[in-house]
């Protein structure tokens, strides 16, 4: 039973790592600020959730589990809030998203599968 749970935890960790790398590539390659924001915001929160749940499933002591849960909740509060504030400020200070697609910027960048 222990082995199964901890291997599920390992799976979560691995998934988190993969999504983290995908998010990183997205932040690097998307064409403008808002799409990058999307990659970073969604990716970050998801990865944090996955990795922390994975760590919880490794079954450390209960004090550690409580700390992990606190960190998880804090990230769930903090991450979307700061993303929201950042995007709002950027928009109000007059940063406009890319509306029409440039030829070279489009190829392989704005992947349709992201949303």
């Amino acid at each position: 039973m222990d082995v199964i749970i901890s291997s599920i935890g390992g799976l979560f960790l691995l998934l988190g790592g993969i999504i983290a790398i995908i998010g990183g590539i997205g932040v690097l390659r998307f064409p403008d600020f808002y799409t990058r924001m999307h990659a970073a915001g969604v990716g970050d929160t998801l990865v944090t959730g996955l990795i922390l749940v994975g760590l919880i499933l490794q079954m450390p002591e209960w004090l550690v589990v409580i700390k992990l849960i606190i960190i998880l909740f804090m990230t769930l509060f903090i991450n979307p809030t700061s993303s929201h504030a950042l995007t709002k400020t950027a928009f109000q200070n007059g940063l406009l998203p890319v509306l029409h697609k440039k030829e070279e910027a489009n190829k392989g960048d704005a992947g349709p599968s992201t949303r």
Partner: protein, 97 residues
């Protein structure tokens, strides 16, 4: 698994740093700093488990808080910088990718 996830986080930290360095606008840089901070939190958590002393999660907690505070600080004082562009020029800002 722990080590694989740690390495992945390191790679992502590097990617975020590159975005922070080349980032064309000021907001891209904040984004990169924010992402870097989140990844550092995860990195510290994982590192605690890898080193076998997972009771050091307090540090990760401090990171999460401090990262938030520094992002708020940047947003708060970004209003005081004179980088407002004239309204006629606005359209070109988002487009020069």
């Amino acid at each position: 698994m722990l080590i694989a996830a740690t390495l992945a986080i390191l790679v992502v930290m590097f990617l975020a740093f590159i975005r922070g360095y080349i980032g064309p606008t000021f907001y891209d840089r904040i984004l990169a700093v924010n992402m870097f901070g989140t990844k550092t939190v995860l990195f510290i958590c994982l590192l605690g488990f890898v080193m076998g002393r997972p009771e050091f999660l307090d540090i990760a907690m401090v990171y999460a808080l401090i990262n938030f505070i520094s992002v708020i600080a940047i947003l708060r004082y970004s209003g005081s910088f004179d980088e407002r562009r004239p309204p006629g020029n606005r359209k070109s800002i988002g487009r020069d990718v």
